[in-house]
Symmetry: C3
Subunit: 109 residues, 3 copies
């Protein structure tokens, strides 16, 4: 038995939840905020048998991997001329930090 603790970006939370449910894994989500760069993130706790660890890590990797995303900057709020057209820029989103913890005992009441 292992307890997987995965810290991911909020925007990947629904996709990861769905992917885990589809494979019959139960997860508990904790609201969390990041240290360095990440504003809003979510911490998943997933209890699994030892032989399921690699499968869950693959699900997390596929749902949350770092990728480039085109983001169109928000237009400045006022005082701008109509001739200004914001261009989409590439930003890096996603990513996951994952700890696999040993579990001495697991109970389900």
């Amino acid at each position: 038995m292992k307890l997987i603790i995965a810290i991911i970006q909020d925007k990947d939370s629904n996709r990861l939840s769905s992917a885990l449910v589809k494979e019959n894994y139960r997860a508990t989500k904790l609201a969390s905020t990041g240290g360095f760069l990440r504003a809003g993130n979510t911490t998943f706790m997933i209890g699994v048998d030892d032989h399921q660890v690699d499968g869950v890590l693959n699900i997390i990797r596929n749902s949350c991997k770092v990728r480039e995303q085109l983001v169109t900057p928000v237009t400045p709020m006022s005082g701008t001329t109509d001739s200004y057209l914001p261009l989409p820029v590439e930003v890096q989103v996603g990513g996951a930090t994952v700890f696999v913890l040993p579990v001495d005992r697991f109970e389900h009441f």
Copy 2:
């Protein structure tokens, strides 16, 4: 030293808190949301000596065990006739998922 992580239903949270305080255990609560069925749940973290694990597991079992509860369905909001009387139905409430984690080191500043 062990760190007990218990995920329980919100509605059992106060009862579990009181039961732990009565036996002089300290707990920290984290707001959490469930994966599968559970809308709102609470995650308890409780640090205990090895010989206290069984005692705390008993407290959790007694405070949070799965049981049937009679729930009267909420009356539909409008457009119903007065002749409709909602009957109470049995639903399953409670339950706890508990991980007992080994602790390498414990400090209290």
Copy 3:
């Protein structure tokens, strides 16, 4: 690899965050509420190499140690005479409860 879980008072949270960032440690914060005395507290999760544990524990001790603080009681809301001047009283603030957990595996996607 270790996962340090530190439960501290809300009022020490910003100071601890800054101290960790300055030393290049990443932390994830979880909103939490205390069992016994503590109203609002914050749970930090910090993943570190084994040889960094003592350094991080020192940062936590320095940022969050229990100390006396002079607090001026809030003046009663109404019906008081102007001759009443609340005197500052010493209260104990700060403190940290820290668990160092072994980590079987660490991944960063």
